[in-house]
């Protein structure tokens, strides 16, 4: 099989990667990336280290409890401009008249925001290294915790991107995104008000429920399916929303 045929069999992600690189670069061109990374580290560092020695247990559990809260405010801030800005500036018209699919635009932008979150998480490994020196650490929950964080960030970014596709105002995109994420985060916190027969359904919808499962170090297909399906569905809706101009 020569190279030409090979490229035809496998989907070609060159457009997606072009958009991905442009978006990631523009995070770093503007101050957004640095602000996100610094804010992230500062908040996590302060919240985590201030209580670590009080508890005196060698684990990253506390950090994994704090980061989802920080996500709630950081993620909508990095997703709000992704599509809203293009619509406001009219550049979406340039993009949408190139020989590329709308889903390539959505996936490229999604991946750029995801990569930024991954980059922001990277320095938190320092805390892991510190703990390894201080005491015996169970590695299962750490690996699970990071996988869970990445999946959770993926879901948040996907709903944030959806919010950004709904409006051309970035502030509105931020608020809608925040609401979506809060809804996913809080829904399993209202279990006590729910009739018994519905609790398991509502619990399944909550993002924190699945995150804490994975963060315990148990990687269950049901949790993975939850993350991937919410993520995929939101991205699908973003593509549909982008295609609204055609209705």
């Amino acid at each position: 099989m020569n190279k030409e045929n090979f490229m035809k069999v496998f989907p070609n992600f060159s457009n997606t990667s072009t958009i991905f690189r442009k978006e990631l670069r523009s995070y770093f061109n503007s101050a957004v990336a640095y602000v996100v990374i610094v804010v992230f580290l500062a908040i996590i560092g302060w919240m985590y280290t201030s209580s670590m020695f009080l508890i005196n247990v060698a684990s990253l559990r506390l950090m994994f409890e704090w980061i989802p809260l920080v996500f709630l405010f950081v993620v909508p801030a990095i997703t709000m401009r992704l599509l809203a800005e293009e619509k406001k500036a009219g550049t979406i018209e340039l993009l949408a008249t190139k020989p590329i699919h709308d889903w390539e635009i959505v996936i490229g932008k999604f991946c750029a925001a995801w990569a930024l979150i991954a980059l922001a998480l990277l320095p938190t490994l320092i805390y892991y290294v510190i703990i390894v020196f201080l005491g015996d650490i169970d590695n299962g929950p750490v690996v699970g915790g990071y996988i869970g964080l990445l999946l959770m960030a993926g879901v948040y970014i996907a709903v944030g991107l959806l919010a950004s596709s709904l409006t051309e105002n970035q502030i509105v995109a931020f608020i809608i995104g925040l609401l979506f994420m809060f809804a996913l985060f809080l829904i399993d916190k209202i279990l006590i008000f729910i009739p018994d027969f519905m609790t398991s359904v509502v619990e399944y919808l909550g993002i924190d429920f699945h995150f804490s499962n994975i963060a315990r170090g148990v990687i269950d297909t049901r949790d993975i399916v939850y993350f991937l399906s919410v993520l995929g569905f939101s991205l699908y809706l973003s593509v549909v929303s982008l295609e609204r101009r055609k209705w």
Binding site: S14, N29, A89, G90, E93, T97, P99, R245, K246
Partner: protein
Amino acid sequence: MAIAVRNLTKYYDTEKAVNDISFDVKTGEILGFLGPNGAGKTTTMKIITCYMPPTSGAVEVEGFDIAEHSFEVRKKIGYLPEMNPLYLDMNVLEYLEYSARLHGLKDALLRSRLKEMVDVCGIAAVRHKDIGELSKGFRQRVGLAQAMIHDPEVLILDEPTSGLDPNQIVEIRNLIRQLGRAKTVVLSTHILTEVQATCDRVIIINDGKIAADGTLEQLQQDFRGSEKISLELKIPSGKITNAMTDIYPKFKEMSTVESVEYGGQEGDLHKFSLHTMKGSDIREEIFRRTVSEGWILMEMTRKATSLEEVFHKLTTTE
């Protein structure tokens, strides 16, 4: 045929933006799309460039249907949207490379196209600057460079000179003329002189419909040639009951009169303007008619219609 538009209609909700228009653009032609704001120029261009589909009708670009072979059409079109949207935080070369890659250009071809566009569009001096720092004239050049980066057969330019100062307008027009030698160009404008300066052919569009279509020479002959005769008649009251029904038909029946406008009444005085075919001098005929009808001719002036007046006439709904 570079572009063939057939019975194109577009509704926004219930509002009709484009109403059953059809036209062809020949290969190598520079077509001016002239009309007041809101006439349907931009909508038509958005449909041709595959940004949005029409409600009904068909468009073919270089033989490819916009609905069935959208990607082929997009590859053949370079598009400069209205207001020239740009990524202000990117630098010029980054942006051009981004556009080029989305058109599938890479490696040596990408580099040679970048270099050529920078040279042709005269943006070498600013190629490492952020687009946000550039003047409007340079931004417009970047927009044109972006539209042509993949060497498309067809250029669609939506109001390419709007918002520029007079010197920049001349520069951009020259650039378009120069580029237009090798390409099919459709450009929209609401400025008449723009069409005179750059285009081979004009389509005047108003209220979603085509009001006139022809080469510049044809339009100039048709419209320049058209003449306007202003009349002021004194008609004693009692002789007529209604100016419109009594006088209007008498002028309308003259062989070369195309249209008659009633300009109002002051006492016994009635004002009229007659539009006549070019080259026909009917002043004598008018004089005889007024005498035979028993009206008194107070004033008569003849004036050639300017292109501006024609445009105004074609694009205002009475």
